[in-house]
Amino acid sequence: MAEKDLAPELTLERVNVAPAQTWNRLRTNDITLTVPARGRKGDVYFSLPRLFEGVECGMGREVTDWVESQAKDARYVEVPRGEKREEPIVVAVGSGDVADTGVLVRAGAEATIVVAADAGEKDGEAGTSASLVRIIAEAGARVHLHEYVGVGAGQQHLESVGISAARDARVDVRQYLLGGGTVALGFACDLAGDHARVDLGCRYHAGGTEVLDINEIVRQHGRRTRSELSYNGVLEDAARKDLRTTIDLIHGAKGAQGNEAETVLVLGDDVVNKTLPTILCDEDDVAGNHGATIGSVSPEQLAYLADRGLSRADAERLFVRALYEDALMHAPCDEARAVVEAGAGTLLDEEA
């Protein structure tokens, strides 16, 4: 029967689950997603080396299993020891695409990985795209991860990332989440080795009735590991955002530091803006900090900008445009640029 059904679906309950949960009544612990489940009878399943099975991914096991069952191929890239790979590893997905990628960055090597998810050719149509990227950064490796997501208003994108960072490895992450009917992003990074470090900057924009669900987990196992997470977003209209972040300072992570900060600008009257910034701490010789500010453009800012000739609407546009300009400025490749340009629409043309 399932074979005859043209669009079999699967409901993934409880994905993007934060490691520590809270009152279920708040409906902030997880998200439920319905995804296509094409029968793959007769296909060969390609899979990544076993090594990647141990990497925790932000959206959780269910999404990993689903991606593995749906991806046409599993792409494995290895960056040899000590090599600085100039050419970015690009994962581009459009509506209907499901990508499964594994990158092994050997000791002392450096690599740039770009995930670019856009509406594809089926803009305006419903559809689901997904990317699962697992990265193993060996000792002293450097990883630059760029995630650019901007899919259609009727589309859904699942973005799951898992990183394991060994001693002295450094991971820089830039996330630009520029809209889509439903965008769910899970990010997990295990700072397994001493002195490993992750710096993550996430900027997001959602409007209309878009739903944005983010779950980010940093596990700090190693001594003197460091995480710096910063979030900066703009929400308009009736957008819904749920951001769960967890800094997990694990027993033995002497001298570890974890910092997290969020700034949200709320511009719509029907916005739902949820945040769950968790710090778990099982070690005394650590420092964990979190800070958040949520609000609209302040009267002082508005007054200042009005003095320079900007109305409230102009001022609000300014904040949104700044986000897209930042995304464009940091785009590491054409695919990423394309996501920004498609998402920005006319926003960036005003200047021209």
Partner: protein
């Protein structure tokens, strides 16, 4: 070497101040477990109105039907209601004079300093021993202003107040709220009913003290406070119990109604013994221009679930929550607060501290919900956690849900330990290591202790000192 540097080493705390037991001989003690018969017996003993019995039986069904959330919170596996007596009462009538309180019970409260505090600085005192209030008294001049401070049982027998209790009781914390709220309504006994008429300011606080003496028993007191428009009350609640190996359970409920322009300060020092499951529910609803202030110190219990909640229904209301939690060996304390801001121009500030040591677990859990209509609402949450060793645990789980574009929310959390530099600095001025650490911990707790009534601040400092005093030096 620095990793292995000596941390605060702590011997077993001397709890002799709290840890003494009195014989239960001659007490009325209902069978362990939870059946409709027991619920009916409690109700019959109290000679309650029919609606109360119905509420109890309904709540009992809810209790059996509900489950604890499977995905969060400390384990309550050690709690078996089949081994808990929900009603234990000393054979004594409620007294208005300490001289009429049985000697061993009077001795208990004297050792806890209650009669002394009453003479010096309180407008009224209620003292509960196991399931029943054994002493209740209020100063004449306060009574003359129309203030009512009595037990809910007595209020239910007073034709003037029975309709008031009926109107408010169980409306803010419904029996459907969670499993242990349901349990509370099935077997509640004792507690306080306070009514402050419009415009009346009490010069001194009222204080209720809850002592659970019986082993393997539960305490389920209900506190219902109504502060009418423009009135002002400071209510203090104290709790303690001696230590047993059997589990004890505390599932009280506190419902606070703070009307327009009124102010209520609710201070608690909870020092249950470390075999106590403290599953307490406290909630306030406040009107326009009203002010709710919580001051909360949690030191005792084996497991706590405690999140005083403020529903800010009116415009321009303010809420302040100041709390400290100290978790030592075998303790898993899940504490915090909830603020629901529905009124415009409301202001809330939450400031909490936690101290973890000897393998104790602290979880700060909070939620701030700002509704659609809470224009210009402002909320700040600050949460600081101090780790005294590397075998303890401290988690911070603050949820925020903001649905108004003009609201401003600020949140900050920090976790850390006492820095070696600070300890050395203080030692270089002659403090021993233990003194240096105690000094820092007291300083850390100071913003909370200075909000407490004097004798509670002293008690809290003593508790910290007891907890910190150790093998060093």
């Amino acid at each position: 070497m620095s990793d292995e540097r000596k941390r605060t080493q702590v011997a077993d705390v001397d709890r002799s101040l709290y840890d003494f037991t009195k014989s239960e001989e001659g007490y009325e003690r209902y069978d362990d477990g939870l059946t409709p018969e027991i619920v009916r017996a409690i109700s019959a003993k109290k000679d309650e109105p029919e609606w109360m019995l119905e509420m109890r039986l309904r709540a009992l069904d809810l209790y059996h039907a509900r489950e604890m959330a499977p995905n969060w919170g400390p384990s309550i596996e050690g709690l078996d209601l089949d081994h808990i007596s929900t009603y234990v009462s000393p054979k004594t009538k409620q007294a208005k004079s300490w001289d009429d309180v049985p000697a061993d019970i009077k001795d208990t409260f004297e050792r806890l300093g209650i009669p002394e505090a009453e003479r010096e600085s309180l407008a009224g005192v209620g003292a509960q021993y196991d399931s029943e209030i054994v002493y209740h008294n209020m100063r004449e001049e306060v009574a003359e202003q129309g203030v009512i401070y009595t037990t809910i049982e007595d209020a239910l027998h007073d034709p003037q107040w029975e309709p008031v209790v009926h109107e408010y009781f169980g409306t803010l914390i419904p029996p459907t709220d969670h499993k242990f709220a349901a349990l509370h309504y099935a077997v509640w006994s004792g507690g306080s009913f306070v009514y402050v008429p419009a415009g009346v300011t009490l010069p001194y606080p009222l204080q209720s003290y809850f002592r659970l003496n019986a082993a393997g028993a539960g305490q389920f007191e209900h506190t219902l406070i109504i502060v009418e428009p423009g009135a002002d009350l400071h209510f203090i609640e104290g709790c303690s119990a001696p230590k047993y190996y059997e589990a004890n359970l505390h599932a009280g409920a506190v419902e606070l109604f703070v009307k327009d322009g009124a102010r209520l300060r609710y201070s608690t020092i909870e020092n249950w013994s470390k075999n106590m499951y403290n599953l307490n529910t406290k909630r306030a609803t406040i009107g326009a221009d009203a002010k709710m202030e919580w001051v909360s110190g949690s030191f005792g219990s084996h497991v706590s679930y405690l999140y005083p909640t403020t529903i800010m229904a009116g415009d321009r209301g303010t809420c302040e929550f100041t709390g400290i939690t100290f978790a030592g060996a075998t303790q898993d304390l899940d504490t915090g607060c909830k603020v629901i801001m529905n009124g415009a121009d409301t202001t809330a500030s939450v400031s909490t501290k936690s101290i973890s040591k000897d393998g104790g677990v602290n979880t700060f859990r909070s939620s701030v919900v700002i509704g659609r209509h809470a224009d210009r609402a402002r909320c700040s949450v600050s949460c600081q956690s101090l780790m005294l060793d590397d075998i303890s645990r401290s988690d911070t789980i603050p949820a925020m849900d903001v649905r108004n574009a003009t609201a401003q929310v600020g949140h900050e959390a920090t976790i850390g330990r006492i820095s070696d530099d600070t300890v050395l600095y203080l030692m270089s001025r002659g403090c021993s290591e233990a003194e240096a650490r105690t000094l820092v911990v007291n300083g850390f707790a100071n913003p909370v202790s200075k909000e407490l009534p004097m004798e509670y601040a002293v008690e809290m400092n003593n508790l910290i000192k007891l907890e910190m005093e150790g093998a060093i030096g």
